[in-house]
């Protein structure tokens, strides 16, 4: 008798596998490329400051305390989504938020920051995206939390959401402060 139901059971198995696949994809974005750089030193860079091309910022200038490196561009739509959160909450992180202007025109970036506000302690410019490749950037926005020793501790792909801020960045920062006061 059970044999009659074998095809049905087979179908149910395949269907549940597909359902699992769909729900898994929903909760774990397969589009996000896992960063091999987490736990490793941030790539070395020395980039000019936006609108001050004679001034450069390098890893060494930022060393000693944690900072958040936020990759953004004026052409990046999702950056606009993220921007109000950085404006409102960026300061509450208590660390420098470094803007990483990615493959952008200086005039466009300047206008963008004037229009929406500037949440950054400093904005560095990667015009041709070469340093971004070293960071494994493949879109914008992306954000890297770098600790005082220059190690990348966390990478956010896509906009920082209030959840990411509250449940990822802040606890991680608290633990960093606890470990190295």
């Amino acid at each position: 008798m059970i044999k009659r139901f074998l095809p049905l059971i087979g179908f149910a198995l395949v269907a549940s596998l597909l359902a699992f696949g769909i729900s898994y994809m929903r909760n774990n974005s397969m589009n996000e490329v896992p960063s091999p750089l987490i736990g490793k030193p941030a790539p070395s860079f020395r980039l000019p400051v936006l609108n001050q091309p004679e001034r450069f910022v390098s890893n060494a200038d930022l060393a000693g305390k944690p900072y958040l490196l936020n990759v953004f561009a004026s052409w990046c739509f999702a950056c606009r989504e993220e921007h109000p959160l950085l404006m409102a909450e960026g300061r509450s992180l208590g660390i420098p938020v470094v803007g990483f202007n990615y493959k952008d025109e200086t005039a466009d970036a300047t206008r963008w920051l004037q229009q929406f506000g500037d949440p950054y302690s400093v904005v560095i410019v990667d015009r041709d995206g070469a340093i971004a490749i070293d960071f494994g950037v493949y879109g914008a926005p992306e954000s890297f939390l770098v600790d005082g020793k220059g190690i990348i501790r966390y990478k956010q792909i896509g906009p920082i959401t209030p959840d990411v801020l509250a449940f990822e960045l802040k606890p991680l920062l608290a633990s960093l402060k606890g470990a190295a006061p």
Binding site: K3, P34, P36, L37, D134, Y138
Partner: protein, 144 residues
């Protein structure tokens, strides 16, 4: 009509040549083939269903340039692949290496094949047993 067929032929040919979007200065055909071969094995990170060779995404263009530059510096294919995996993880490789996290990827299909083979063997054996027990020529209930 002839002009139309010619135009059609050219239009049909163009996708095959579409990869040559960058017009990189290769020194010879061999180098160009090596470049094509290598970039076909690499995944574009922006449009993840496209290879680095095919994608017209901005980042893909930059990475093609990077691959080209490193070839000019005399780096071999493995070194270039390593350069990219250091930054973008195994994800950039269409042919990921065998390691802990990729065991299922490599042997999953084989596992499914074995399950299928076991099921088929079971069904065939059962049928053979039924045929053996019933008179030849007489259909059984289990004919599906």
């Amino acid at each position: 009509m002839r002009a139309f067929s010619l135009a059609l032929c050219l239009a049909l040919l163009s996708p095959a040549m579409a990869w040559a979007i960058d017009a990189l200065p290769f020194k010879d055909r061999a180098e160009e083939l090596r470049f094509q071969h290598l970039t076909r094995q690499l995944r574009c990170l922006v449009c993840q269903n496209e290879s680095l060779a095919d994608s017209s995404a901005d980042l893909a263009k930059d990475l093609r340039r990077e691959v080209f530059d490193q070839m000019q510096q005399g780096k071999d294919d493995d070194a270039i692949r390593q350069y990219l995996t250091d930054r973008y993880s195994d994800f950039v490789l269409y042919d990921p290496p065998l390691r802990g996290a990729t065991v299922l990827l490599w042997f999953g299909p084989l596992l499914v094949l074995l399950i299928g083979a076991a099921a088929v063997t079971r069904i065939v054996r059962k049928r053979a047993a039924i045929q053996h027990n019933t008179a030849p020529g007489k259909g059984t209930e289990e004919d599906w």
